[in-house]
Symmetry: C2
Subunit: 280 residues, 2 copies
């Protein structure tokens, strides 16, 4: 398969740098093609601004969405953005690797999403009407592709547990996994998270990369997170609120995963996709 | 009072630009001192990297936390970072204004937090031991200051409602409000959010800034969000999990707000702070 690794850490001689090298080696030795976008090494431009659209009418006010739409349609996007979009088209699996800084990704990587995720490419795809709110959350340009986060954090697993003070890790990552990956169509694999990253030693590192390698080996067959799809009956349109009766007894971001009621449906013989949805 | 507005939008002739000008005028005409950090206009460097620490030993590997700690203690931080830290020390109220891009702040602003929030300034403050996990989440350098987000988004309020597909707005903003503002000690005011930002017209704009002006007028007396404080008995230390019996029946980020049981305590006469906490 074709694997794109989008990587954002400023120091190659770091835990992240070692894990990056491990992943590239593991994937290539398994026969996969790998492209690496090492954002710091590339001196990636992190800020989305009018300079990204040199052919726009500079007398008009800059509109990030509309200027993006125009440049994408007209083929006037700048070269570094086009190159990353081509890598996304090429990839079957996209890995995003970064240290968690302030409960999100580094600005460097955030700017990659802002600039590469053009209007017409990652959003604004499909019919937008009162009856249909675009192709997103389970549909879109990246449908059929998979994505996975590889994240390090200094905090303990307990601090990110269901009742941990930082919030549950699945909730902390929801704006990324649901809002930036599932939104344009990726199937999102459960994240690989290294906690207590400041307390790494040789044996723990070997165990960590062994577990990471296993996750890479299984990436194309593993069950993705069962986020609910926008256009398959779970949401009212155009309000886009979850229909009454679904995810009863749950609250917060967990509403947007299929769960118990899918298990009930499966028990009633309505099967395959329900089982798949209940798997994470 | 002293107000710092940290603002991140690339186009002055935008809804955000108009709201920015409105806020500065309103605050100044009310007799407050205002400083504006207009990050795009300042050409703010969004990426945290080794170049931020010109006096570090470049033969050693770059460690974002430890190099930050060292530079903060030694007084060798670079000038643009020091200037922003001084503004934070000066401010009684800090407003962060931005368009929501991909369910978070623009990379430009994220990079402001990464670079300005030095070790020893916004994190790594206070004793870290098995008995005490630093001064954070309700304590820290910014204790006594207030912060508020002013956010625009193209999505509808329904899409960000309790059962909306994007997740509830309070949950989407939690990693920022709890993880980046409450963490270093700010009291966090409820956010001012403009939904459907693409459908703004003259009358709606007047109503919007009237509501925003009222929020500014009330900023120093309004009730902050009742996030639970780390070091005041709600959490086990060092696991930092919420103690059993608190936030019963809730899940997700909502666990970390005081709520019903505080109301119960208030009814039992344990009073003042409980009432305050139950107010949002």
């Amino acid at each position: 398969m074709n694997v794109l690794l989008v990587y954002a850490h400023p120091e190659p001689r770091s835990l992240n740098g070692s894990m990056r090298d491990f992943m590239v080696d593991r994937l290539r030795s398994s026969g996969h093609a790998v492209q690496l976008s090492d954002l710091y090494a590339m001196h990636w431009k992190a800020s989305l601004d009018a300079e990204d659209f040199p052919q726009r009418d500079a007398t008009q006010r800059f509109d990030p969405s509309m200027d993006s739409r125009h440049a994408f349609v007209e083929g006037t996007q700048i070269a570094d953005v086009v190159a990353e979009q081509d890598k996304l088209r090429w990839a079957d699996l996209v890995l995003f690797q970064f240290p968690m800084w302030w409960f999100s990704m580094p600005a460097m990587l955030k700017g990659w999403f802002e600039r590469v995720y053009a209007y017409g490419f990652a959003y604004g795809v499909g019919e937008h009407s009162e009856a249909r709110w675009g192709e997103r959350y389970g549909e879109g340009s990246f449908k059929g592709k998979r994505a996975m986060l590889v994240v390090t954090t200094g905090g303990w697993a307990e601090h990110y547990s269901e009742r941990g003070i930082n919030g549950a890790i699945d909730d902390v990552l929801f704006p990324i996994q649901h809002g930036m990956l599932f939104y344009p169509g990726f199937e999102v694999l459960p994240p690989f998270v290294v906690f207590k990253s400041g307390a790494m030693h040789a044996q723990r590192y070997e165990e960590t990369v062994a577990a990471l390698g296993k996750r890479l080996d299984e990436a194309m067959v593993a069950q993705p997170i069962a986020y609910r799809r926008q256009n398959h009956g779970d949401y009212l349109i155009p309000a886009l609120t979850l229909k009454p009766g679904l995810s009863e007894g749950r609250s917060g971001f967990a509403l947007h995963r299929g769960g118990e009621e899918q298990c009930d449906l499966a028990a009633e013989g309505r099967g395959e996709s329900a089982l798949r949805q209940a798997s994470y």
